[in-house]
């Protein structure tokens, strides 16, 4: 994947959505998702994530703009486009009285695929649902219901899978399972687009990250590049004796004195710079004869980056 240039599998251009209420949910969104990647769309509540997914999947009508999914325009060639897409919605909307087996077979048919019990079995087994195939969906736990929704979305072997807040309200163990499953799907060549407001999730899984806020994509970046570019390392050094001011020898705009002169705080941008920066500072402290008692290094998470990005906007 890394060697060949990325092939766009979902191309969104100038996508606008204004609801009947006058609310502008999307303001000219451009986005390209590469084949075979896990793309995480991050954004606060009401940012437009679900509207965006809704348009690509056919639940919401765009006011303007085009979407091409695996080579097919979602409006003009909706049959071919939708046959390539699987959607796992945010809400646990299920047919309570149906069995897992019937529900998943139904989904496959709905998406225009001939009956194939072996394929459905494979999907159910992959999601550890095979033992529950004859259970009524209503009798399953929330986590199992979520799996049923995933099974339904995968039943017609889509090449693009949308997961709208896949782990909302899901316990930690199941969340891990879900992540494993998503990675396995990617290994099989499925492109995965997920929305989340659990930054941890994007950090853990995504290849690339897009941040959407107030209906606009404000950033699209490879996860590592993003961490590199916007990540921060903060080194906090507890001093033995308080300093009145930062000694001229140490003068550095990245260095600040805090806690009544007992703490030195060094803030470094980018991921790679961290360790080196800390080592340099310690050497210089030694040279200056400044004694210290503690060293604490904190790397910023994607969450900090995200809060920074969104928080700075009006």
């Amino acid at each position: 994947m890394a060697s060949s240039p990325p092939r766009p599998i979902v191309s969104i251009k100038g996508l606008e959505k204004t609801y009947a209420s006058g609310h502008r949910a999307l303001k000219g969104v451009d986005l390209e998702v590469h084949a075979g990647e896990i793309f995480a769309l991050l954004g606060p509540n009401g940012a437009g994530k679900t509207t965006l997914i809704g348009i690509v999947c056919g639940l919401v009508r765009a006011t303007a703009g085009t979407v091409i999914a695996d080579g097919h325009d979602i409006a003009q060639d909706y049959r071919a486009a939708r046959a390539k897409i699987g959607l796992v919605p945010q809400e646990l909307a299920t047919d309570m009285f149906e069995t897992v087996w019937h529900a998943v077979n139904f989904s496959r048919g709905l998406f225009g695929k001939p009956r194939d019990h072996a394929k459905v079995e494979e999907v159910l087994r992959a999601l550890s649902l095979w033992d529950k195939r004859n259970a009524k969906i209503g009798a399953l736990s929330g986590g199992m219901k979520r799996r049923v929704l995933i099974a339904k979305a995968l039943s017609h072997e889509p090449s693009i899978l949308f997961l709208d807040e896949p782990t909302a309200g899901v316990d930690v163990e199941l969340r891990r399972d879900m992540w494993d499953m998503v990675r396995r799907l990617r290994e099989q060549g499925v492109t995965i687009i997920l929305t989340t407001h659990y930054i941890e999730e994007a950090e853990e899984m995504a290849d690339r990250i897009g941040v959407i806020d107030q209906g606009e994509i404000i950033l699209i970046e490879e996860k590592h590049a993003l961490m590199e570019k916007l990540g921060r390392t903060r080194i906090t050094i507890g001093l033995k004796e308080p300093l009145a001011a930062i000694p001229p020898m140490l003068a550095d705009e990245r260095l600040a004195l805090a806690g009544d002169g007992r703490t030195l705080v060094l803030t470094l941008m980018g991921e790679g710079e961290g360790a080196q920066g800390a080592a340099d500072l310690i050497k210089r402290l030694g040279a200056e004869g400044i004694d210290f008692t503690t060293i604490d290094t904190v790397k910023s998470s994607l969450e900090d980056i995200f809060v920074d990005l969104v928080g700075k906007r009006p």
Partner: protein, 253 residues
Amino acid sequence: MNLHAVRAIYAFELGRTLRTLFQSIASPVISTSLYFIVFGSAIGSRMQTIDGVSYGAFIVPGLIMLALLTESISNASFGIYLPRFTGTIYELLSAPVSAIEALMGYVGAAATKSVILGLIILGTARLFVPFEIVHPVWAAAFLVLISVSFSLFGFILGLWADGFEKLQVVPIMIITPLTFLGGTFYSVSMLPPAWRTVTLFNPIVYLVNGFRWSFYGQSDIAVGFSLSMIGVFMAVCLGIVVWIFRTGWRLRS
């Protein structure tokens, strides 16, 4: 044409009927049997024949029609309202399924169920009163046409309704009274002239009379006119459904 989808929806909806077999089949059969006992046997034995048909036999087409209309409407409306209510409609909306295919699945299943129900009630009626069907092919045609048109109507109702109350109001408050006043239990010619004119504005009069003609070869209204009324009704319903899917009304935001 996504025939796999049509089949999936059709089978899914009929499957729902099988799960609720008692509610779907037994309850209309029981209520129709009660009508036969009360009107056909108890009261009907004291009534004279209408146009040479015994009263018990006279009411058979009307009673089948009553069940057919209410069941077609409630089945089809529930079939599409339920996924809207539970949110599972997302799957249909995101599927490569056209309006016509969705209709074939949902309305086809509701109409099939109504036809089966009509036949069951017909068989039940035969246990209470003797009758013969003069034009069986026409009777079958009426049965199918009416089931399909009112399932279409029910489908629209299911899309329009925003609560269970509305789903029930239309069959109970509109269809049942219109059917009762539409000559189910009497011949329109038995009414005083003024009421006879009023009755002709009730579309169900044409359905009941057309269906009765297929049974006994006589009717208050010309059969051709009955048929064209059903045709008009079906065309209007189809037009509305196509408009709904094209605009996404109540379906897509």
